[in-house]
Amino acid sequence: MYKEITIDPITRLEGHGKIDIFLDEAGNVAHACLQVPELRGYERFAVGRLAEEMPRITETICGVCPTAHHMCSTKALDDLYGVEPPPAARKIREFQYNTFMFEDHNLHFYFLGGPDFIVGPDAPAAERNVLGVIAKVGLEIGKKVIDIRKRTRNIIQTLGGRVVHPVNGLPGGVSRGITKEQQEEWKKIAEDAVEFAKFTLKAFDDIVLKNKAYVDLILGDVYKHKTYYMGLVDDNNKVNFYDGWIRVVDPEGKEFAKFKARDYLNHIAEGVESWTYIKFPYLKNVGWKGFVDGKDSGVYRVAPLGRLNASDGMATPLAQEYYEKFYQTLGGKPVHHTLATHWARVIEAMQAAEKMVELINDPEILDPRIRNMDFKTPKVGIGVIEAPRGTLFHHYETDEKGRLTKANLIVATVNNSAAINMSIEKAARMLIKNGVVNDGLLNMIEMAFRAYDPCFACATHNLPGQVPIEINIHNAQGEIIRTIKN
């Protein structure tokens, strides 16, 4: 007989993510998995739609990272119609995109995942949220967080029309340009963003890195997985969020593959399981060996840690300094410690802010030529972008009128779905022994989960802060004999 433990992260009322743990007779973990009980069918109802409407349609997949879907979809349209946006349009898109990356990474750090560190993993659950962060860092700083969010989101709103679900992407360009006055105003915001990123990195340094217990936690075995890593890089193998080569490194950090979006089908495949609605991508040229680590397993990881590991460095000077320190502190490349994702994320926020400064100061961004309409007959369009939560693919096929006949989407978090399951299983195995369920289990699993910042958690709305988690321990008859909750 097996005992079943259910962790229902969003309590029972949500149904977007549930963790099941089964114990064997000795009380050790026999099986653990994360179920995603949500499917919405975008790939089906995209069929018949006009390609140019896809950036508006697909972004409603996620209201937390709509800009990533909007931009990726727009890039798929560039490819579909065989057009490169003029330099100003490209710069506007990149500026908008980096602004979004900066804003979203801050949201994660201050509202979602960061509280575990800033307030402390052992702090009472009720304090591990943005209010606890404000209490710890002070109200002044709390206001700063709200202020920079507001100002950066205003940029997206101005360019995109709506901040939740922007609308300005068109094949070969954008629908509106930037005025001189806006440029002046946004230069200031961009500079403030860099200052804010410095502040965040310093806070990370003071609160996390100067605390040996935290560093030990990051380096601990519970959160370690030796996998492949994927991320977009530029021609110099530096991290790029908007465009470039998709680079994959093996668990030793050696380049395994480097390809353009157009070739993604040669490299990625997805498996299906009957117990969850989410699919499990893997590297086709390694193969699916199940939920296991190592060089022979096609499991790969994306998102901030994946991007840093898959690159040779950051594209901007300040971010590069932190990048070097990151690998020095954590014992060289690649870093396999899942929790280091939080640090990687704030380093990326710095690159995004520095990029904002660079792009908005570029005189060419004001050029009124923002559309390339030299369209070829549409057939296939593939777009890729680095969403905050990982590499995102949009692939459309159309008839000659540009109406969709087929769509394929690999959403950022989905790339990490196998690894997330592995992290949960590992934490469970290490923390449940002989039927004794360690009370720390709940929090440890929650932290493993949060580091990935899973998008289905976005979709399941763990904003702003606490994911309510409940572990029910059932006896063989299915009665609850013990409940642990945060």
Binding site: R12, F22, P37, R40, G41, E53, I57, T60, N129, L265
Partner: protein, 321 residues
């Protein structure tokens, strides 16, 4: 006096409606001060049974976003109806079905086949599909059932008010909250936005010629839209005439036409049909051939005229499936 009790809840939603609440920024503190939030799964730990234990009608108002697409969502919506004096459908998905409601062009079987079999990267030789119950050696794993049809909130429970938009703009959210707390309640069924069509407040309206005629329909990527001129007058589909105003002309500001996320104007049930009649009245076609040519140029009327409202339209869903 005890503060009024307020609940926030989400069904099948993208999370954007919650971001819009966070975008209240400092104003959110005012809301928190004025009310007692009894249910907000993002921020507060609570259980069904806590809500079940509350006396009926003890919550002043529940704001619910997202469409309804599984049994769990239906259950909690019904529970909140019982416990609340007022229900507000928050955002386009709860109000009209929203973009995810376009899934009603297909059924569950087609959606499953596409996602788990036909998509390019899917490798599924054994044709495994997600199952409600999976037996594993250690026990059973269960999944909630995915409904065939996406429904708006008022197709599931009675709704008192609507806050439209994808997502609703923060200024309207504040206005809605203040109105409901003031006790000076608008008539039931009110959509908390403008009573008029978007065109009436659109800055481009004044550029419309007295007698608007269009000879051909242009697609948004095929033209450089003049940032001053009415899209429709230029032959670009803009659902403004059939859409309720109040969004602040958000898309128009970005030089893109409206796709109707605020839903139909007052007393109109079917936004797409309303738009079609508005369009028909301005099309300048004399012969049958001309009419046919222009109709054919509207390649995807469902996607364009019903982008946010398919589940609540008279079409409702694909028939015969």
């Amino acid at each position: 006096m005890a503060k009024p009790k307020v609940a926030f809840y989400w069904c099948a939603s993208c999370g954007g409606c919650e971001e819009a609440v966070v975008d209240l920024a400092e104003d959110i503190l005012k809301v928190v001060e004025a009310v007692d939030i009894v249910l907000w799964p993002v921020a507060l730990d609570f259980k069904y049974k806590d809500i079940e234990a509350m006396p009926d009608k003890s919550i002043l108002v529940s704001f619910i976003n997202g469409a309804i697409r599984n049994s769990e969502q239906e259950h909690i919506a019904k529970l909140l109806r019982q416990k609340s004096q007022l229900i507000v459908a928050f955002g386009a998905c709860a109000h009209l079905g929203g973009i995810p409601g376009l899934a009603n062009v297909a059924n569950r079987k087609e959606i499953f086949e596409t996602a788990y079999k036909l998509t390019h990267t899917t490798v599924n030789p054994k044709e495994i599909f997600p199952q409600l119950v999976t037996e594993i050696p250690q026990g059973k794993l269960t999944l909630p059932e995915f409904y065939d049809t996406v429904k708006s909130l008022d197709q599931t429970i009675e709704v008192d008010y609507y806050l439209p938009g994808c997502a609703p703009p923060p200024d309207l959210i504040m206005k809605g909250v203040q109105t409901l707390l003031s006790g000076n309640l608008p008539p039931k069924g009110t959509v908390i936005a403008s009573e008029k069509a978007l065109c009436e407040t659109c800055p481009r309206n004044k550029t419309k010629p007295d007698k608007m005629v269009i000879k051909e329909i242009k697609r948004i990527h095929e033209v450089i839209a003049d940032p001053e001129k009415c899209f429709l007058a230029e032959g670009i589909i803009c659902v403004g005439p059939a859409t309720r105003g109040g969004c602040g002309e958000r898309c128009i500001n970005a030089n893109m036409p409206c796709r109707g996320c605020f839903g139909p104007t007052k007393e109109v049930i079917d936004q797409g049909a309303k738009f079609l009649s508005a369009l028909a009245s301005i099309i300048d076609a004399n012969t049958d051939e001309e009419v046919q040519k222009i109709t054919e140029s509207i390649i995807d009327p469902i996607g364009l005229f019903y982008m946010y409202s398919l589940p609540t339209s008279i079409l409702r869903r694909k028939q015969g499936v």
